[in-house]
Symmetry: C2
């Protein structure tokens, strides 16, 4: 059992660490199809001066380019943090088979607004390596103080 | 009074027409700062094979590049159709001073999920040239049948 949720979430955490190293809020994402990572992304909102440059948004766009189609039906999307409404809305349109996320985001996460932002056909698993993800975020915001 | 809401919405409708001409769901957007259009966008989801390529998303990114900053505080965003939750979420992050939209979108619009998706400091005006926008959309979907 090499390809567990923990395995892929660790890859998403590597992406989050890349964001951290660039002084970006550390959130990472990988998209997986047939046990293979087809796209990676990390938050680049400051670097790109672009509120839309969240990890998930970039990974969704990159996955669609890789697949040659807009829909991520057979993909799993691993994200270190609960998606915000923008990213949940993008995931609604992309319709991945599964979303796995780590830490919860009570302030900006989509659950605050409404779980129905995610497509009803998408399975959701949360809490995978949540503590590692939250620790990286805490470390980032402590550094900022 | 050259620079009315109707004036800028007509420009957004020109963008929607460009989408229509490319066989894309016809939605257009312009971003205005100091009575000047600083960015334009039209829906390109099919052309770019990318669910994130909504008119607003492109216009938000382009505006931030133009302004050299992520926030659209002093801007008005004109959209021919009520934004979906993804675009509303992006507009939440970009925090424009004002959003003006045309037709309502009872099926996919953000209001269905929750008006709180938009930043509380953003003023919202709706219904500007709504009939023109809706007519273009109807004409698109009738063509598709």
């Amino acid at each position: 059992m090499l390809y567990t949720d923990d395995y892929f979430m660790k890859e998403a955490l590597k992406e989050a660490q890349k964001a951290f190293d660039r002084d970006e809020v550390p959130v990472g994402c990988v998209v997986v199809a047939s046990d293979r990572i087809i796209a990676r992304g990390h938050n680049l909102t400051e670097t790109l001066n672009d509120v839309t440059a969240h990890a998930e948004m970039q990974a969704i766009t990159a996955s669609a380019h890789y697949l040659g189609g807009k829909f991520l039906t057979d993909c799993s999307v691993y994200i270190t943090l609960e998606p915000c409404p923008m990213c949940a809305g993008a995931l609604f349109w992309a319709r991945p088979g599964r979303i796995v996320y780590g830490a919860e985001d009570p302030k900006n996460g989509y659950m605050k607004h409404r779980p129905s932002l995610i497509h009803p056909k998408t399975l959701i698993t949360k809490g995978v390596l949540a503590e590692e993800s939250a620790a990286l975020l805490r470390s980032f915001f402590e550094k900022k103080r």
